[in-house]
Amino acid sequence: MIERINFWGIPEFWHYVAYVLPMVAAFYMLWRIYRHLSIWWKIGRSENRWDHILQRTWRLIKHGIIQLKVLRQTYPGVMHAAIAWSFFVFFLGTALATIDADFYQFLRSDIYLVFKFVLDIFTITALVGLALAAFRRYIRKPPRLTLSAPFGYALLILFLIVFSGLLTESLRLAAIAQDPGLQPGWEPALAWWTPAGWISAQFWLAFDLVPASLMRTHLGIWIFHMGLVSALFIMLPSSTLAHIITSPANIFFSKLDQPRGKLSPAVNLDAGLVGAATLRDFTWKQLMDGEACTECGRCQDVCPAFTAGQQLSPKELILAISEGLAAQAPTLLASNDHGSETPIFTGEVIKEATLWACTTCGACVEECPVMIEHIDVIVDMRCHLIDQARIDGQLQMALDSLGRYGNSFGQSDRMRAKWTQGIEPKIKDARREPVEYLWFVGDYASYHGSITEITRKTAEVFRIAGLDFGILYEAERHSGNDVRRVGEEGLFEILVEDNTAAMKGCQYQAIVTTDPHTLNTLKHEYPPEINHAHPILHYTELIDDLITSGKICFSKQLDYTVTYHDPCYLGRYNGIYEIPRRILEATGCKLVELPRNRKCALCCGAGGGRIWMEEDEIMERPSEARILEAIQLHGVQVFAVACPKDITMYKDAVKTTGYENRLEVKDIIELVHEAL
């Protein structure tokens, strides 16, 4: 019966080395990692990320080990998984072998053969993965990659480890093939349980070497292999392979409500914290983000600001944190005791224009395989810029207006319900009488010239469906979603206070809004008395219900071919993807999907307060890119959206791209209205 022979062909002296050397190296590695990690909590602010351990562990398995997010993209996914899974298997294999040798011998007979077979298959897998990586890095060279030498060194050492492992196996097999006495129970038919090893062994056999010389070579390469593994341990914390530690850790500690939209910006006046100005104002987790980045560049690929040619690459931004930390850590740690001046990071190392370019669309966060939280840290830094009044004139005008009138349009709060003029019977005032649905109308729907038309249609649809609804009239204020996201936390608080006070006085069963941004903040960021007491719905959810329950019956079927743009705050942030599509189909429209849809939808460019800011020099507006995407689709007549800001963005974009006559931008409610 065949069984695993511990330290096959290795003299006894080397047995001790094989235990001591890698172990010493591993402990040295752990010590270095600890020393490095401790920088995060010595410098960063504290933040509790130890809750929900089970949920976190499950997330670690899904994304750290199985690597579901990595696998979303075929080539890099397969490539990375091939390498990573192989090394997991090698690690597991070594652990099993140790158990077999020192604790409980079980690697014998069939179990042993399967053990060998699995390791052998993953040796091939690893080599294929490494070849794919080398091909991608040196031949394909996708622009999003950081093409620097350390990545090459990492590939080389991994290759040498795997290859030397294969060589030892092949030498062992070649020796046994010549002298079966070297492995009791050996028979030639078993050779194919290690196909890669056996094929490689043919090379040695072709030279007709005696077993003794094969075993000498075997010993030499075995020592080389073990040395490399130890060297890898030693260099790992400071190499690009450090992500083997930091990335899973980052996944484990990632925000649990992600990607749902709750921010808790770095503002605590009592603690003297007003945004993230220095690296000390970053949480330990934000510092970790910087070092968990594998520089894969997927975030950069999906970033609307980067694609538009603005000065923001989410990847570079995150890397700047880790580079900044590397540069500043000695100073920061030294000054820990005597609290001397901390160098300003925000606006210096990371430029203002970079921070303002973000639309908070969440595509980077959605895409990041290691669950880095780009938006939280950007908003924290924006809080500092706001505090320093480093904002452009247009944003200042919008914020001044929001502070004074509760809207960004510079119009009186008393004009908020002007759009209701002429609607008979008058829309109920939710402050005065109970309503079933409290309609939080939102700024754009209330004030923006062409959108108020849509708002009126929404009211009509609600009325036809027999809905009992009311609005807050002039008591409503901007919901604050994007006020928080530009970093004006103080103003956000006031808006929340005002709106909460107004809503608290009303009797209602649910809140409905047409604006996904409003939906997001009401749902995730308002006090529990608002979002725990009653459901908060996007109007598409409500319309969908009304269709299902038969309260909305369409009198005609529209025969438009439409495409649908997922608003960031409806889709990625709140997971509402299918409902709007269902409504579109119910109206009779034929839906053709945009290439980038659902989780991958491209942002229109308006979010995160961008709609209030001056436009930088850009190559192509995201909204225009999106319209061009729709134009490519065969026969699409209507570009359907479900967000008031999208209406303005895309109506502009069809004009500027010159497709005004080919493509009509419509809110879903307009199609519903038309089909009634």
Binding site: A389, I391, R404, Q411, S412, E489, G490, E493
Partner: protein, 254 residues
């Protein structure tokens, strides 16, 4: 350099304005007051001077509704002292009286430079600046869009009609009417204002007692009648555009 900035609140034009039952003054029941825009520029200019060449900035305002917010905002922006003139201001004083009130504070400890907005949109008896200057016996220059400080005086940039700018030397102390600061007034984060409310105390001074009952020259105040108005083009955007094209044709532009 010690600088005083005189602040005044004016009706917010974003709101519809109405005349009260006397027919002689604005209805203040629902009126929203905001800082006079040129005054905001005056404050900004003062802060810029302070940041450039040192000194202090005091802001002075009358104790009327919303003035506290304005003073705290000024504190949050970087003003060092906030002086609030308290008293009965049921009828807001005209600018002559307002100037006297300001002077009562300024007289005791005159600053090197007094800045105020060149005018307010509701000035009926001239701007405050020149009156304050005259009552204090100081020189006044208005319509200023820039100040540079040098030894023994200042150079100011005065705007004239047509974009012409005069460069004038003014000896100190002096009063300036600011049209616009060198930079647009800075933004101040709400949290800073809230912080200022907690940490700043307003220096309250009882205002000089003035007889403010003196009848103003105003006999009637009114919203301009429609008769003087443009002919409004009705209809949706399409229809309006058609009508405009018609008008352009008639005028021979098209």
């Amino acid at each position: 350099m010690d600088i005083a900035v005189l602040l005044k609140l004016v009706p917010d034009l974003v709101e519809e304005l109405e005349v009260d039952s006397t027919g002689k003054s604005l209805d203040t029941t629902f009126m929203r007051r905001i800082i006079n825009e040129p005054d905001e520029h005056a404050l900004e200019q003062a802060l810029l001077i302070k940041e450039g060449s040192g000194g202090s900035v005091s802001v002075i305002g009358l104790d009327v509704a919303d003035m506290d917010d304005v003073l705290f905002t000024a504190a949050a922006k970087g003003a060092d002292r906030q002086i609030k003139l308290t008293g009965e201001f049921e009828h807001e004083p005209n600018n002559h009286d307002l100037a006297r009130l300001f002077v009562s504070v300024l007289k005791g400890n005159p600053p090197d430079l007094i800045l105020t907005g060149v005018q307010a949109h509701n000035d009926l008896d001239g701007a405050v600046g020149p009156l304050v200057a005259e009552y204090l016996g100081l020189p006044y220059v208005g319509y200023i869009a820039g100040v540079s400080v040098e030894n023994g005086g200042i150079t100011v940039f005065k705007e004239y009609t047509g974009g012409l700018v005069g460069e004038l030397h003014v000896s100190l102390p002096a009063v300036l009417g600011i049209q616009s600061a060198e930079k647009p007034p800075r933004y101040v984060a709400v949290s800073k204002v809230r912080q200022a409310m907690k940490t700043t105390s307003l220096d309250e001074r009882a205002a000089l007692e003035l007889d403010l009952s003196e009848a103003a020259a105003i006999e009637r105040m009114f919203v301009p009648e429609n008769g003087e108005r443009a002919k409004m083009l009705e209809g949706d955007v399409e229809q309006v555009a058609d009508q405009i094209v018609g008008l352009l044709k008639n005028t021979g532009v098209l």
